[in-house]
């Protein structure tokens, strides 16, 4: 079952990497001359300058939710390796699955809040980092569900 183990770990790592890229890269909203993300709003009109995201409470909530989802996904990976060696035979990776599902819920709420509130701050179409967040959500959810269903053998 080494192949299954490898596939599960790769799925988990893919979700984690997507979360990282989505949180850090400055491309949540783009229009012709500016791009903005969770942390700042940069524009290339008359030289390149950025203003930091002081637009209030909701953007900080989105920042917090994205960071929490990364933390929980990391914890879930760590718990997976712990439980792999300490779980009894036939046991389920409940804790790992719960943390990963929580991570996916955090990403979903963060992306929803951003979708609803971002027109107040920046105008433009959504960039690829925003799309990555929405892709990371089902990946993390599926990964978490697999952990909950999975049983430890041998």
């Amino acid at each position: 079952m080494l192949l299954l183990l490898l596939a599960i770990i790769i799925l988990h790592l893919a979700a984690l990497v997507l979360l990282f890229i989505s949180t850090i890269v400055s491309a949540w909203t783009v229009n012709g001359t500016s791009s903005s993300d969770l942390w700042s709003n940069c524009s290339t009109v008359s030289g390149y300058h950025c203003i930091s995201a002081y637009a209030g409470e909701w953007i900080q909530a989105v920042q917090a939710l994205m960071i929490l989802s990364i933390i929980f996904s990391f914890l879930s990976l760590f718990l997976f390796f712990c439980q792999l060696f300490t779980l009894q035979k036939g046991g389920r990776f409940f804790l790992t699955g719960i943390f990963q599902i929580l991570a996916s819920l955090f990403v979903m709420s963060g992306a929803i809040i951003y979708t609803v509130k971002s027109p107040e701050w920046v105008s433009g179409s959504f960039g690829f980092a925003y799309i990555l967040a929405w892709v990371a959500f089902p990946l993390a959810l599926i990964s978490g569900l697999i952990y909950v269903i999975l049983r430890k053998r041998e």
Partner: protein
């Protein structure tokens, strides 16, 4: 007779520091600080120069100049009667105070300092942002949410282990006392006749043996 003119000393780089952004409430006073680093001692001919470029404009105007030991403030431009020099040039501080800021003062302030012969440097700019009510500092709510969720997680873990320990302790207490109703009576009041007498108290090894004897907590 030929008189020798002394070589002018070599000029080196000077590094100028200002803030990055300043947030201010309408009607308040805001201090714009400017300092510099230079390898030489502060000379008597040190100069500080502030200029202002409004948001959306491409031109900047000069609003302050300090030279020859005296400050010269703007008395014709947008900051007349509102600008005050509060720096200390001998301590390399060229800060200015702008009183009673308004929305028209939004813009970029550039400080240029020279410490002859160190004159090669890049002027540094600070942006002024004027608000009618100060927004929450960047990162306060972020940190609060993250701290609250992680704190809740730690609390849940601590409560879980505490419950396990208390259940273990109940068995432990019952085996020691004769009355048998001590401890937190949560489930069931049947005093179990536990015959084992643990030989140790409150050590990790003792807790581990107790773990084997306690009913399993299902998560």
């Amino acid at each position: 007779l030929l008189t020798r003119t002394p070589f002018p000393p070599q000029s080196q780089a000077i590094v100028i520091y200002t803030g990055w952004e300043r947030h201010a409430l309408v009607g308040s006073d805001v201090r714009l600080s400017c300092s510099f680093f230079s390898w030489r001692w502060t000379s008597e001919d040190v100069t500080f120069s502030w200029s202002y470029r409004p948001d959306g404009s491409r031109d900047s105007i000069s609003i302050f100049h300090y030279t020859g030991g005296a400050p010269y403030v703007d008395n014709k431009g947008p900051f007349r009667d509102r600008l005050e020099f509060i720096g200390n040039p001998s301590r390399r501080d060229g800060s200015i105070l702008i009183k009673n800021v308004d929305y028209n003062d939004n813009g970029t302030f550039t400080c240029d300092a020279k410490n002859p012969p160190d004159i090669v440097g890049r002027p540094s700019s600070v942006r002024l942002l004027v608000f009618d009510k100060l927004p929450v500092q960047a990162g306060v709510i972020t940190g609060a949410i993250i701290g609250a969720v992680l704190g809740l997680l730690v609390l849940i873990v601590v409560i879980y282990y505490l419950m396990r320990f208390l259940v273990a302790r109940r068995v432990f207490n019952l085996s020691v006392s004769k009355h048998g109703k001590k401890g937190k009576g949560k489930e069931g009041s049947q005093p179990r006749q536990v015959s084992l007498r643990p030989t140790c108290r409150y050590t990790v090894a003792c807790f581990k043996t107790l773990k084997h004897n306690t009913p399993q907590l299902n998560l």
